[in-house]
Symmetry: C2
Subunit: 226 residues, 2 copies
């Protein structure tokens, strides 16, 4: 049980989801948690600011220790609970190198996804340009092909750094799930589709599935022609 | 000696500099290295693409293992050479948590810096807006105040996660140095100025100082009114 931990989170936010998967993997169920609404701007509430001066979710506290950045929280949890739950950093130097490499490429992947699906959210009306959005879409396609190729090379049933589930899956799976929620075609990206299908059955992932995705099973079709 | 390592790098690139500082800290001098020119687009050359399909610097290889993402390379080097050179991840859980937290905030810091000093590089001419650049400048000021506050709280002579030099200094110092290279005022940001003055004398930092900064000691004044 993890009663000395508190997580403030938002449904469907990949950064929040990363931390929730990590907590499940390390058998840290039973933490205090509160689901907040981005739409109601609850991530800017005093309750959040008290933990996270940036006014962002996740906001995460373990005793007196605050680790809000999702990647930081994942590293921290693995480091503090090394021998509890699943081991999330492989021993083999090659697999470890690939894990680190893909984790940080994963930040680019996430950024390029956001630059398409949240373009209107990030860019104020008077500053929007079709040329920019098209460029962002092309950049996302390039990125998708890279990851499709990575999975192709690893072979069927593999995780992102090799045979075992690791921190790169914790951090990048929520991006992949968001792609499909926004209509990405598993026919065009079969390896990403296969990876998505494999991981969505994992207990840690199922236990932390965004509740509003369960309530409303139909996502958007923003990415269907990608 | 690190003769089984190869680094392709560009002068003044914070991501390249991070890896070079990490290599120095781990006593991994003597690696194969090649300085490439961003201006001549050498980061898009076949030599780079062979190691790094993204066509980016740094491109880093250790034997058959490729780790191009700068944060990934830093984690990898610390993990593979734990007991060699300086220990870069502190033992204390609180210091470790702070290190991870600030490392990932450091990516935001770097991004917000780039969005100001390289605005014209990132945004094509027809898509530029004064309103966007002003917003980016304000976001950078907010960010600068955050970091100034972090250092203030830690007290004089501290590193970014506490008393010892750690991975957060490896990864964030190049951003801080770039701020001052681009004219940031140490009078307005005395704690950042103090941190900069402390770290620039560190042997690993001196040994990896961007050569074109040494050749031309005068930087820009883009940030002087920040």
């Amino acid at each position: 049980m993890a009663q000395d931990m508190t997580l403030l989170w938002g449904s469907g936010s990949p950064p929040c989801w990363r931390v929730m998967i990590a907590l499940e993997e390390k058998n840290l169920q039973g933490y205090n948690q509160k689901l907040l609404s981005f739409e109601k701007l609850e991530h800017k509430s005093q309750e959040v600011i008290d933990i996270n001066p940036r006014g962002q979710l996740p906001s995460f506290k373990h005793g007196d220790v605050i680790v809000n950045e999702s990647y930081a929280a994942c590293f921290y949890l693995e480091s503090q609970f090394k021998s509890q739950g699943n081991k999330l950093i492989p021993d083999s130097p090659a697999e470890q190198a690939l894990m680190y490499q893909r984790m940080f490429e994963g930040l680019t992947f996430y950024e390029k996804l956001n630059a398409v699906i949240y373009y209107n959210w990030f860019v104020p009306e008077g500053e929007r340009h079709d040329s920019a959005l098209n460029r962002n879409r092309e950049a996302l396609v390039t990125e998708l092909k890279l990851w499709e190729g990575y999975l192709q090379k690893l072979g069927s049933g593999s995780h992102l750094a090799g045979p075992s589930f690791s921190l790169v899956d914790v951090t990048v799976f929520p991006t992949v799930a968001t792609l499909f929620r926004f209509g990405l075609s598993a026919e065009k990206y079969p390896k990403l589709g296969e990876y998505y299908a494999l991981l969505k059955e994992r207990p840690s992932v199922k236990a932390s599935w965004p509740p509003h995705w369960l309530e409303n099973r139909k996502g958007q079709d923003t990415l269907k022609d990608m």
